[in-house]
């Protein structure tokens, strides 16, 4: 992307009194590997087409106002850099996905330091590779799902790095569809109408150290495999269909070191197999984990389950998942041999959670003496909950995770 340095390139300035007062004209006139430098000011332009290797750079955040007319910047060439622009008023359409910046079939691009406001779609990458989306701030004004777009959307793209972006008030903060080998890290995605992060049919991706907060439905990871999720924070996703994380048809993945705090459901798992959950913290969620069935060969180890209303809910009597060496704040066993592991197995599924699954209104009886009594009797002799679902080696003390 910095290949332009080796070729003698010139800088074209854009300002009200320069040779070029419009960005579109300047871009058209530029040669390959030139730099178009946009001075501070307001430019009312749409459909700026970058079809050659170029650096488009703003100085002191010049404003590009699309006046709700349509797409603003479209990139169709390799080696393009867009840097330091303030883009507002992207047009909304029900037939075309207008974006503030769209990259089509390009390689080696860099999109950084942009501020996007009043947008439909923010940064839209389609069929592109080896790019980087870095340090952008996307603030939408979405209220309904049907007439809003996504902050950063990847479609059939590969090897993209999405780093240090702040995204809020759009439909999906980050949306990946058919996007493989991507790295998503250190982003903050909050207050979005639907999902903070949304994965569909995307394999081999890593997301780490992101914060997803107060989104309509949390984070959804669907129909993908070999996803690695490390050290993310999922917080305050409340509602009847809100999850810290929703897993559907996810296989062979790793979920490590994440924090799920005060969500209605920490992780909702459906049809997901061979996933390792380790070193996560589940703190004060309604349900730490809700398993909806068809989940096989998953391993839950060394997680902290702290003060959740329910640690685990299962809707079937079958269990093929393993729970080992977790710390459960509701564990009431003892440790006579002082090896730090409880001598009595812990049963994370309570009878009452089974009752609530059947009759949701019964939630109002949570923490009553009667439910404690029925939970206790179920604990002594399991009838309704899976017999073999237990943590044989529950930890006595909260696990201190080593996170980097």
């Amino acid at each position: 992307m910095l290949a332009g340095k080796s070729v003698p390139a010139k800088t074209i300035e854009v300002c009200k009194k320069c040779t070029y007062s419009e960005i579109g004209k300047a871009v058209e006139a530029a040669n390959d590997y030139d730099t178009v430098l946009v001075r501070k000011g307001t430019y009312k332009e749409v459909n700026i087409l970058i079809d050659k290797p170029l650096v488009l750079k703003g100085e002191n955040y010049p404003v590009i106002d699309g006046e709700l007319k349509g797409e603003i910047i479209t990139i169709t060439s390799d080696d393009v850099t867009v840097d330091g622009l303030f883009i507002i008023n992207v047009g909304t359409s029900y037939t075309v996905d207008y974006a503030a910046v769209r990259v089509i079939k390009s390689k080696n691009f860099l999109i950084q330091n942009l501020v996007l406001e009043k947008l439909f779609f923010g940064i839209y990458l389609e069929k592109s590779e080896n790019g980087r989306v870095y340090h952008n701030n996307i603030i939408g004004d979405a209220e309904e799902e049907y007439n809003s777009g996504n902050g950063i959307q990847l479609w059939y793209s590969k090897n993209i790095e999405i780093e240090q972006n702040i995204i809020s008030h759009v439909r999906d903060g980050i949306y990946l569809e058919f996007a493989d080998d991507c790295i998503i890290k250190n982003n903050i995605s909050s207050n979005n109408v639907r999902y903070g992060l949304h994965f569909m049919f995307s394999n081999n991706d890593i997301y780490s150290n992101n914060t997803f907060e107060n989104n309509g439905a949390g984070v959804a990871v669907m129909f993908s495999k070999e996803i690695k999720m490390y050290n993310n924070v999922f917080r305050d996703n409340w509602g009847s269909a809100a999850y810290g994380m929703l897993l559907k048809e996810i296989n062979d993945s790793e979920i490590m070191g994440n924090t799920f705090q005060e969500n209605t459901v920490g992780i909702n798992i459906e049809g997901s197999n061979r996933i390792t959950y380790s070193n996560n913290d589940f703190i004060r969620n309604g349900w730490a984990i809700k398993s909806r069935g068809a989940c096989y060969a998953n391993l839950f180890t060394e997680n902290n389950f702290l003060y959740n209303s329910f640690d685990l809910s299962y809707n079937s009597k079958l269990n093929d998942n393993k729970f080992e060496k977790n710390y459960w704040s509701n564990y009431a066993g003892y440790d006579l041999d002082k090896d730090g592991i409880g001598d009595v197995p812990y049963r994370p599924v309570k009878l009452f959670s089974y009752v609530v699954n059947r009759t949701p209104e019964a939630i109002i009886l949570l923490r009553s003496l009667f439910t404690d009594i029925i939970d206790f009797s179920e604990k002594v002799s399991p009838v309704f909950t899976p017999d073999n679902l237990l943590d044989i080696q529950p930890k006595m003390k909260q696990i201190v995770h080593d996170r980097n």
Binding site: W238, G239, S240, A242, E262, N263, T264, V265, R284, N285, G286, W287, Y307, S309, F310, S329, V355, R358, T359, P360, E361, A362, I363, I364, L365, L366, R367, S368, L369, F370, T371, D372, I373
Partner: protein, 260 residues
Amino acid sequence: MLKILKYSFYDLMRSRWSYVYFVFYLVLGFVLLFLNNNVSKAVITLMNVIIILVPLIGTIFGVMYYYNSKEFTGLLLAQPIKRSLIFLGQYLGVALSLSMSLIIGLGIPFILYGIFRSDAIWDFSLLLITGTFLTLIFTALSFNIALSNENRIKGFGYAILLWLFMAVIYDGIFLMSLMIFEDYPLDTFSLTATMFNPIDLSRVLILLKLDISALMGYTGALFQKFFGTNFGMFLSIGILILWVVIPAWFIERKANRKDF
């Protein structure tokens, strides 16, 4: 009435039982804080204890006090004092001294462990408020039982039965009916049924603080309104006040009509 209230109050303050009660809460508070070493977690455990124990002690104590001071009541009745004032005074004397034992007994350990510096202060004050309400309600109910039963054994029996019913049996029947009628929309029913049991009502007040994330999981619009806004909080407190006023009014009515 104030004189009688004062008399009952001081009488109880001098009696061993309110000290026992006070020391019990003091020890409970310290032990919980010592074991949990965390103010918020101790508050959660305490909530479970208070919801069950405070009604039990309120009922037993109320019945006991009424029967024990029967002779003195007889003496007072011979004086030119309004009947209702005698009984309401006694009732408030008992209820207030019990509430005081609760508040001071739990207050001391939590203040020493730094409740004012922790973010659990709201949960803790809510706990004391519901505890006080439960004392007021269950003492009033027990006075009603004692007033209508001359036989002590019967009175005690009914008092314990009342507690057992409110604390356990009611929820059992409630849950059963929810499961039997699960095909019907039940959110109005479940909220109404909660209102008719002060223990459930106090529990819901506490749930609003502790388990709001789980409660938001249910889709019913009424639930959303009840739990999602301050509406639930105000309604619960309003109904708790009704639960104090109505039994107290019954004490007055019964006292006026009773033939001593």
